[in-house]
């Protein structure tokens, strides 16, 4: 997978976001081994020091655990993972709500629009 970086945001922060996503979307399932720093750095096309910095931050948040000599592993702590899932989804909702409000939608209209979208989406999936 190709990593893309946005302008004006520190790269290590963007790496952290991408790795968090990977912990949730099944790329790195709970308890699985994370590729080595240099391997990940090569994949992302970034400096190994930057990758290391991002990994250390995830370790500090206990989302990754370093086991001496055998590498780094994704957390198996369900509570941590569901908390992460909640945080990330809240920021998605925050962003969406913010945009819809600038379009002039009231909160009630936003709720209705989301409901309509979900119902239609479910209908399409069934057919």
């Amino acid at each position: 997978m190709e990593w893309r970086f946005k302008e004006g945001i520190p790269i290590y922060q963007q790496i952290i976001s991408e790795l968090k996503l990977r912990l949730l979307n099944g790329t790195y399932p709970p308890g699985s081994r994370i590729p080595a720093v240099r391997e990940l750095a090569l994949e992302a096309g970034v400096n190994p020091n930057t990758m290391q910095r991002a990994l250390l931050e995830l370790e500090r948040d206990d989302l990754l655990a370093s086991v001496r000599t055998s590498g780094r592993f994704a957390t198996e702590d369900e509570e941590k993972l569901s908390k992460l899932r909640r945080t990330l989804s809240e920021s998605c909702i925050e962003e969406m709500t913010g945009r819809l409000r600038t379009l002039g939608l009231t909160d009630k209209e936003i709720m209705d629009a989301v409901n309509r979208y979900l119902t239609r989406g479910a209908g399409e999936a069934e057919s």
């Binding site: 970086f5 302008e7 004006g8 945001i9 520190p10 790269i11 290590y12 922060q13 240099r38 750095a41 090569l42 992302a44 096309g45 970034v46 400096n47 190994p48 020091n49 930057t50």
Partner: protein, 232 residues
């Protein structure tokens, strides 16, 4: 972390043209540093002084604590900004050439990198495309287990796919505690691999900071910020 390259009040003039106007710089081991500036800002002059291909007019430069000389040359893997190898040599001869000259040359590493390029062993440098030739020169340079890699314009003049290959070759092969300095004016292409950026403007350092700090403080990419600083 050790200081691997240190310049103090470094000046260089060509006749009455001042190429470097008093450079103070300290670069540490384990870092990838971008030496960034437009054409004529003094990038190549600085690198050549570090390699002892030029003598400074004033001031000094220290490589791993010593003035440039035979010892420093054995520690620096230098990639010049133009073709520098005899063009009648075949791949095989080039490997031998490097092995003869540099004790730290790792032939296996070179072969590994070359295998992905599919260059026949008996092809002469002259017959290689510009992109392949640049890759060949970079591979020879990065196959040294050096303390310092000084890469002068390693990605200029090649297509984006070759640039990508070259940058990946650099981050995949430098020695962990080495210093890598990449000079270029193609900032957008290199900024994700840099730890630090040094902006060189008309022979003076106008900025030296970690790249993520630049992004954080300015809310811009290093490339955008560079364009602002060097706006004509």
């Amino acid at each position: 972390m050790d200081t691997l390259l240190e310049a103090r009040g470094l000046k260089k003039s060509y006749g009455n043209v001042a190429a470097l106007k008093g450079i103070d710089l300290r670069l540490m081991s384990g870092r990838i540093v971008g030496l960034l500036g437009p054409n004529g800002s003094g990038k190549t002059t600085l690198i050549k002084i570090a390699c002892r291909l030029l003598q400074p007019t004033e001031g000094q430069i220290l490589i791993d604590g010593e003035a440039p000389g035979p010892v420093s040359k054995s520690k620096i893997a230098y990639l010049p900004d133009k073709d520098f190898l005899p063009d009648w040599m075949k791949t095989r001869q080039l490997l031998q050439f490097y092995e003869d000259f540099y004790a730290d040359f790792d032939r296996n590493r070179a072969l590994e990198m070359l295998s992905s390029l599919e260059i026949p062993e008996n092809m002469t440098l002259r017959k290689m495309s510009k992109g392949t030739k640049e890759k060949m020169q970079l591979i020879l340079t990065m196959s040294r287990r050096a303390r310092i890699y000084l890469l002068d314009e390693p990605i200029a003049g090649v297509d984006p796919a070759a640039r990508d290959y070259i940058l990946r070759t650099i981050i995949g092969n430098y020695e962990e505690n080495a210093l890598v300095m990449i000079s270029t004016h193609l900032i957008a292409d290199v900024e994700s691999v840099l730890d630090e950026a040094v902006f060189l403007k008309k022979g003076e350092i106008v900025l030296h900071k970690p790249t993520d700090q630049i992004r954080e403080e300015t809310g811009k990419s290093v490339d955008e910020y560079f364009r602002e600083v060097f706006k004509c």
